[in-house]
Symmetry: C2
DNA sequence: CAGAATCCGGAGCGATACTG
DNA sequence: CAGTATCGCTCCGGATTCTG
């Protein structure tokens, strides 16, 4: 629906990598997050390569944690209540479900709605960003399939 | 360069999610990996939705670990020796560098070449899959930027 | 129903020292 | 140079119990 080159003309995968080296060690990322004015950061977002680091870091935060993906996956089918999620996601405990849902909520991927019923009803659903996360999943699948295909070809050359 | 719909016509993000629920809990994935004949798996790869789970799991294995991304990032610039990587990636210890490099090697992302010099010289470089991983990074960046943009707009609506 | 509180074991990672 | 070996800690996540 929209191409990378259109939206972010200065996108250059080459330029990010050096920043990535220092990114995941969380020092610089935290610095940027903490001290920078958010509005200013937004205005620079398509120019500054450092923003790429933050972007990757953001994505990694979503990916981190054992249950984030299953939860997002489950919510893709539509609104879910706490217990429903617990049933749909095998082996997850209420503690983990609660924690991961809160993470996703503060990160703006999931919207939490409380209804004044007795007892209380709580519904979770994906925000725009949560739905857009499909794109990341798609590429992960695509790469994973390709990678497997490639690896199998290389590892069994003498079989034929 | 190639679109998902072309390469994997049966690709359906909807069908994967239910599988994803059980994927990251590693039970089914391990089952598939261990018991299935690899050749058979390869032939089914564009049909079986379970392969999506494995694919995502593969990608997650790459993403896991604090130093995998920095290492890949560093290797994108070309061949590197052990010590060079150690210098380019801040704060990484030889122990972790060694461990993560071996992980990447057995997963087929990095090729390790030993030269018969005195003392020994070892060079690391990205395999095809490693280079192709750019695509994943790109989308992560794209999503991260969009996500930030979207989140900032939502959180500061009354400012104007 | 929708969680919070507490306890606890293991994996992941760091620091340091050593080796072919 | 290119790693390995050992120790120790932190924190993620599981199990269980309790609450508004």
């Amino acid at each position: 629906m929209f191409s990378i080159s259109q939206s972010y003309p200065t996108f250059d995968i080459q330029s990010i990598v050096i920043y990535l080296c220092i990114s995941v060690s969380t020092s610089i990322v935290m610095e940027i997050k903490g001290t920078l004015d958010l509005k200013k950061e937004l205005s620079d977002i398509s120019q500054c390569p450092a923003s790429y680091v933050v972007a990757v870091n953001d994505t990694m935060n979503i990916l981190s944690g054992k249950w984030k993906l299953p939860i997002i996956a489950s919510l893709r089918f539509g609104k879910r209540r706490f217990k429903e999620l617990g049933r749909e996601i095998p082996k997850i405990t209420p503690r983990m479900l609660s924690k991961e849902l809160r993470d996703l909520e503060v990160n703006g991927l999931v919207r939490r709605t409380v209804y004044n019923t007795v007892p209380v009803t709580v519904e979770y659903e994906l925000e725009e960003s949560g739905k857009a996360f499909d794109k990341v999943l798609e590429v992960m699948i695509e790469w994973g399939l390709k990678h497997r295909e490639f690896t199998l070809q290389r590892e069994k050359p003498a079989e034929f």
